[in-house]
């Protein structure tokens, strides 16, 4: 019986991303590219959607930060914007949408309801979408002001820039 080898989790590039100068720069460059070209899918169900609309329109305009492209197909989007209350009936739909997204993807929970169930602490509402799907940025507020949404987008961009990039589109089989 040989030794059990640990499962290879990351591809060749990612393993070296911390070491070599070129790999680090590549990681940085890809992060820079990704953070300014976020295609988002607005999963809007309730009141917070009105503030999302405000943030998307001319007064606040989050296109300034490269998040302007709204796609209504989860398969073509990088960012899932969960805006509003998720009831137990809606939950499977949200899960399906999330599962359809290609990686790398990010999720923003916008509003108290999506974060924690908000003021609806009852039988009908999911107490926070992080019970169903992973969340990157939480936006508090009931509803959050458009400025808060913009701030969350900046935070997400920071995160994308700094994280270890997912390079599975270019896996080198060992």
């Amino acid at each position: 019986m040989g030794k059990i080898r640990p499962i290879q989790k990351y591809s060749y590039y990612q393993k070296t991303a911390h070491g070599g100068f070129i790999a680090t720069k590549l990681n940085y460059a890809i992060g820079w590219g990704r953070k300014f070209s976020i295609f988002h899918y607005p999963f809007i169900t309730a009141c917070c959607g009105m503030e999302y609309m405000s943030a998307a329109c001319a007064h606040w305009d989050f296109d300034r930060f490269g998040v302007g492209m709204t796609t209504f197909s989860p398969r073509q989007s990088d960012l899932l914007f969960v805006v509003g209350t998720i009831s137990h009936k809606e939950a499977p739909v949200l899960k399906t949408v999330y599962d359809q997204m290609v990686e790398p993807n990010w999720v923003i929970a916008c509003g108290a309801c999506a974060v924690s169930g908000g003021i609806y602490d009852n039988y009908a509402v999911v107490q926070g979408i992080d019970r169903i799907i992973p969340v990157d940025v939480y936006i508090p507020g009931c509803p959050p002001r458009p400025e808060t949404i913009l701030n969350a987008l900046l935070k997400l961009q920071d995160k994308i820039q700094k994280q270890k990039q997912d390079l599975r589109w270019n896996i080198v089989k060992e």
């Binding site: 999963f43 809007i44 169900t45 309730a46 009141c47 959607g49 009105m50 503030e51 609309m53 405000s54 329109c57 001319a58 007064h59 209504f72 989860p74 509003g84 209350t85 009831s87 009936k89 809606e90 739909v93 949200l94 949408v97 003021i119 609806y120 009852n122 039988y123 009908a124 509402v125 009931c142 509803p143 002001r145």
Partner: protein, 440 residues
């Protein structure tokens, strides 16, 4: 699970599922369509995706505490929901509201109605591809919300209308701000009229689509702009005038055919009427009590009350501006026990503190007499009625909401029957379905 539609469908038909995560379905409704080519043969609407247990939750909240929940029913016009709920309770408790507060309520209702119609039409036009119009509409809504925010402290979920009156007075620059907002709105309406009213694409997509006859509208229980688009003259503000609507000069705009275009047109005209009403209200509104100078934070007030003579002047912290003690008679009813006592009293006198505690204590507070009551106001998309059963305790035994959307959406199946699949989207947009109100 096989649905009714699946059982009844022909074998050769194509079944298509629209929503709930579909851009035009607002995330909260699902329409199953049986298609014959591109035409809708049959359909089935499924609601309930935004069921948040509003009615049940209210049974466990005191009458004062459940006010924020009403904000989130029709979240595009929260102030009208507040007015509806509060007036139902006032009817049960026989509270009279000061005149200035009534005018403020009407101003706020009408501003909300404009923002509601703006949003509804914005969504409807955007889904038809008129994105410029969408941006224009939202620009106007933004200006209106600015005015609302400056007075109420919040953009959307305001909880500004309180039992017995309103939370605070209008802010001193209100007239200037509202004039500006109305000017922007008028400009936007003019622009949009120029863009859409004679636009061939818009007319082709909306004229004679989803025609609702007056009979059908009444049978389904339509109210609001959708009913008036079919030519039935029914508006709660005219039929059973509440607040000071009978003192204002305005007309009920009516449509002729009851198609999508008429529903758009009626909303456009209603916004103009609402603007007129706001203008008249601002002219007629009784004078406010002049602004008081200076301010003090609650902890300073408490300190002062301990060490100094209690008759010393106490001013409120800036976030309570507009609800000073002198203003109370003009904005809140004088009935004992329906309102929070003024903060000056709470911080400095024993009497006020006890009153404050009594108001918020479990089992005390607002306790209407036993009985049941129904009252309705004209909401953004129709007659918004509240039905409250009280058992004499501090929380409702039962609270039921008559949401206007529910009745309109129930007619959707018949409205889209026989039309193209592309017509489903403007039709649905023209009903102004709001999830919070539909599923509650």
């Amino acid at each position: 699970m096989t649905t009714r539609l699946q059982k009844e469908a022909r074998k050769e038909s194509l079944m298509i599922n629209m929503g709930p995560s579909h851009p035009a379905m607002h995330g909260t409704i699902r329409i199953m369509l049986e298609l014959d080519g591109e035409k809708v043969r049959n359909s089935e609407v499924e609601v309930g995706y935004l069921h948040r247990g509003f009615e049940k939750t209210c049974e466990n909240k005191t009458y004062f505490n459940l006010l924020p929940y009403t904000d989130r029913l029709n979240y595009v016009s929260p102030l009208i929901n507040n007015v509806g709920y509060v007036m139902t309770l006032e009817k049960l408790m026989d509270v009279t509201v000061p005149e200035r507060a009534q005018y403020i309520r009407v101003i706020m209702s009408e501003l909300s109605r404009i923002s509601d119609h703006l949003t509804a039409l914005a969504a409807m036009t955007m889904e038809c591809g008129a994105f410029t119009v969408f941006l224009y509409y939202i620009k106007a809504r933004e200006e209106i919300w600015k005015v609302i925010e400056k007075t109420t402290g919040a953009r959307m979920t305001t909880s500004y209308i309180r039992i017995g009156g309103v939370r605070c007075d209008l802010h001193p620059d209100f007239k200037k701000d509202v004039d500006r907002a109305m000017k922007v709105t008028r400009d936007v309406l003019k622009d949009v009229k120029g863009l859409l009213d004679k636009n061939k694409i818009w007319i082709d997509r909306t004229r004679d689509v989803a025609v609702v006859s007056p009979d059908m509208a009444v049978n389904y229980g339509f109210t609001g702009p959708c009913l008036r688009a079919s030519g039935v003259k029914y508006d709660v503000r005219k039929a059973r005038p509440y607040l000071i609507y009978d003192k204002l000069d305005w007309v009920v705009p009516l449509g002729e055919n009851g198609d999508n275009f008429d529903r758009y047109m009626v909303r456009m005209k209603e916004m103009e009427q609402s603007l007129r009403m706001v203008e008249q209200c601002i002219e007629q509104i009784p004078e406010a009590v002049p602004e008081a100078k200076g301010e003090i934070n609650p902890h300073e007030a408490i300190k002062a009350a301990r060490t100094q003579k209690p008759d010393e002047e106490i001013r409120l912290s800036p976030n309570l501006k507009g609800s000073e003690k002198e203003k109370y008679p003009t904005i809140l009813s004088d009935k004992y026990g329906v309102k929070v006592p003024p903060k000056e009293d709470t911080y400095t006198t024993m009497e006020g503190l006890i009153q404050h505690f009594k108001f918020f204590m479990k089992g005390h507070g607002i306790r209407p007499p036993k009985g049941e009551v129904y009252f309705s106001v004209e909401g953004g998309s129709g007659e918004l009625g509240y039905y409250i059963v009280s058992d004499g305790s501090d929380r409702p035994y039962r609270l039921h909401l008559r949401g206007p959307c529910f009745h309109i959406v129930s007619a959707l199946e018949e409205m889209i029957k026989g039309h193209y699949i592309a017509d489903v989207i403007p039709t649905f947009g023209s009903t102004n379905m709001i999830g919070g109100e539909l599923d509650r």
